[in-house]
């Protein structure tokens, strides 16, 4: 199966950066990676490491300083600007500042490489535009001005625009930055649908590791000295993320793919009980700096049950009852030293 996945975009020993005059400022060592049809690929790396530059370079908006990029096995340099626009669409982080432009007009710009020099939208183009608007759920807003949309709606409209461009590959530079959490997941859901149902290859950069881990088929991870590609789980198992947070107080737990702060271990507590309440209680005592022991030890916490509606904290010296997790945690945090 793996061998059958069609490689739609590959780059090999690609050098990215800026050339001014004869001086070349190459940002990273040569990078190589590939993307298959219908894959959702997350590009991850530290701020300022060159994610946007890489995305602009593979979109053809910036000259590569070395190496090779090919679409469907054909070198990017052999494509005209117009041909390339039929292969790959692009959304940047740049905000658009146009008054009097309706959502329909914005999406219609996606038809640019498919219309003649007059740019007149005939019925075929009109149908593609309406199709893109419908797929992105913008039908009700199609006559609204872009300047009046919310951030989430505007991002949807931008996605409709590259959908109308009818390319196999969509490149999005931080498509969920600046969005509230609801819109963020709506946009991700939309990207997911486009990859699965319309077989679009979507390459997006993000700072959100949780999103990258849970949503993407493949991760391109840029480290200081190389680019590593693979399924999120493969990278996790190989320990590729270990070095991403070396110097920060953030800890990435490779067991479950979550983050936590490096805090002092203040001791272990046993938690008696089970179910949802147990999970939330453990979360809270972790935050307070304690870990949970496997075996019944002292101190221990009994979580509320049919017999007892309070949290019960039992230590060697005494036992106290708490009506909420909030009160329980306050008690735990009050003890500066290990004791309880």
């Amino acid at each position: 199966m793996m061998q059958n996945l069609q490689k739609i975009l590959t780059f090999d020993s690609l050098k990215i950066g800026y050339a001014s005059g004869r001086q070349k400022n190459i940002l990273l060592p040569p990078l190589s990676a590939s993307a298959g049809r219908g894959e959702l690929i997350a590009l991850i790396g530290k701020n300022g490491i060159g994610k946007s530059t890489l995305l602009r370079t593979i979109t053809g908006l910036q000259e590569p300083l070395g190496g090779e990029i090919s679409y469907n096995g054909r070198n990017i340099l052999e494509y005209s600007r117009m041909e390339l626009a039929r292969e790959v669409g692009y959304i940047s982080t740049e905000s658009i500042k146009v008054s009097n432009m309706s959502v329909y007009d914005l999406v219609a710009l996606g038809r640019f490489p498919h219309t003649n020099w007059t740019g007149i939208i005939d019925s075929g183009n009109h149908n593609s535009i309406m199709d893109a608007i419908e797929k992105t759920g913008m039908s009700a807003l199609k006559n609204r001005l872009v300047s009046e949309l919310s951030d989430g709606e505007r991002q949807r409209a931008m996605i409709a625009r590259i959908l109308a461009q009818d390319t196999d590959i969509m490149i999005m530079d931080e498509p969920t930055a600046f969005l509230d959490i609801g819109s963020k997941y709506e946009i991700l859901h939309l990207m997911h649908l486009l990859a699965r149902e319309s077989e679009k290859t979507i390459i997006f950069s993000t700072h959100d590791l949780n999103i990258a881990m849970s949503q993407s088929d493949k991760i391109w991870l840029i480290l200081d000295n190389k680019l590593i590609e693979g399924a999120p789980e493969d990278l996790m198992i190989d320990g590729a993320f270990d070095h991403l947070f070396d110097s920060s107080p953030v800890q990435f737990n490779t067991d479950d793919g979550t983050f936590s702060f490096r805090t002092d271990d203040r001791g272990t507590i046993f938690v008696e009980g089970d179910g949802k309440l147990r999970n939330w209680t453990i979360k809270a005592i972790n935050r307070a700096g304690f870990s949970v022991s496997e075996n019944k030890t002292i101190p221990f916490i009994t979580i509320p049950s049919a017999a007892n509606s309070n949290w019960q904290l039992t230590t060697e010296s005494n036992s106290a009852a708490f009506q909420s997790i909030y009160e329980l945690v306050n008690r735990l945090r009050r003890d500066e030293k290990r004791p309880i």
Binding site: I96, K97, S99, S102, D105, L109, F112
Partner: protein, 355 residues
């Protein structure tokens, strides 16, 4: 589902219809003002005499005034309005700056520097009156070169400075710098040359010779044609150069075409009529308000009609109908344009830099 589709179609069609109605109204206004411009002037001529001038063979004094003076002036006003408004529209789109215009960003100053070089510098014994035939073209080309140079300079600056107001201030600095150079040139030039130049700077629609009007007509026609051809490119550039490139526009080619077009339009007008302010910046905004669109396939023809109309109206006002005095047309265009510009600035505070 079906009714919805039906409504949607009806919606598209009715907005198309609305556009046609606005186009028709603008066209009728243009024709009306064009005719009115022939009727008003510092010499009061009866309406019947004006009509007679066109249809009788014997040349009366009135006939001469109408055909040799007022008609060329009206045509000049029309061409100037079209040219300045179109160049303003193109500059606003390519710089993505609502405050861009040939006069504001210093294009007119650049053109006047070109003219100053011809009149004060190289032409020695040539005065504008003696600039005939090839001389007109020399003047125009110098003017294009001046406008084009400023355009390149502003483009260079705007790749580094994104803030609209900063670019505006730099444009004003540029204009001041250029006038300083012109002043120095004036200081070292002789009396005849100086007089010729000062008369030119006063700006006038009525001083064009038949030869100059021909050159202006050719230049503006070329500019209008290029604008119409570039409407698709301008639409793509609305989103900025990165997006324009990503949807398949050859940005370098588009820039060359649009820059040349703008320089030809603004440069030719400035060469023959002197600097005329605020038409270029104000008219595109009026057209955007009328048509409520950002589509250049609509904005360009709209700007052509509205630009001609506003300039003809300015010319009629400058004649002060009913009196024998004439105002400088530059003052009238400023009084019409400045309120529009102020309105745009105030509105933009709300939408932070939209155009």
């Amino acid at each position: 589902m079906k009714t919805e589709e039906h409504k949607e179609r009806a919606g598209t069609f009715s907005s198309g219809n609305q556009n046609w109605i606005i186009f028709l109204i603008l066209f009728l206004l243009l024709i009306t003002f064009l005719i009115m411009d022939l009727f008003f002037g510092s010499v009061s001529i009866k309406a019947s005499e004006v009509i007679k001038a066109f249809f009788s063979d014997n040349e009366s004094n009135f006939g001469t005034i109408i055909l040799k003076f007022r008609l060329p002036k009206a045509i000049t006003a029309l061409l100037v309005g079209i040219a300045l408004s179109l160049s303003g529209l193109q500059m606003q789109t390519i710089f993505r700056n609502p405050m861009a215009g040939p006069d504001v960003l210093g294009l007119s100053s650049g053109a006047s520097l070109g003219v100053a070089f011809v009149i004060l510098g190289f032409s020695g014994n040539l005065s504008p009156d003696s600039l005939r035939g090839l001389g007109n073209w020399i003047l125009v080309v110098a003017s294009w070169a001046g406008a084009g140079a400023v355009m390149l300079l502003i483009m260079f600056i705007s790749t580094r400075v994104k803030d609209i107001m900063t670019i505006l201030i730099l444009g004003i600095m540029l204009s001041s710098g250029i006038s300083a150079i012109v002043t120095i040139m004036q200081y070292f030039s002789n009396e005849t040359m100086l007089k010729a130049y000062v008369i030119w700077t006063m700006g006038s629609l009525g001083n064009l010779t038949a030869g100059q009007l021909n050159v202006l007509l050719i230049c503006v026609s070329v500019g209008v044609l290029l604008s119409l051809l570039s409407s698709k490119m301008l639409n793509a550039l609305l989103l900025g150069e990165n997006y324009a490139g990503s949807i398949g526009l050859n940005v370098r080619f588009a820039r060359i075409v649009i820059f040349s077009c703008t320089s030809i339009l603004a440069g030719s007008v400035t060469a023959f009529c002197g600097p005329i302010g605020f038409i270029g910046i104000a008219v595109p905004h009026i057209v955007r308000i009328l048509f409520k669109t950002s589509d250049h396939k609509v904005l360009i023809p709209g700007t052509i009609l509205a630009g001609g109309t506003v300039m003809l109206a300015s010319d009629i006002i400058s004649q002060l109908p009913g009196s024998e005095s004439v105002l400088p047309v530059n003052a009238v265009t400023s009084l019409i344009g400045i309120p529009v510009v102020i309105w745009v600035i105030i509105r933009n505070r709300k939408y932070s830099g939209l155009f």
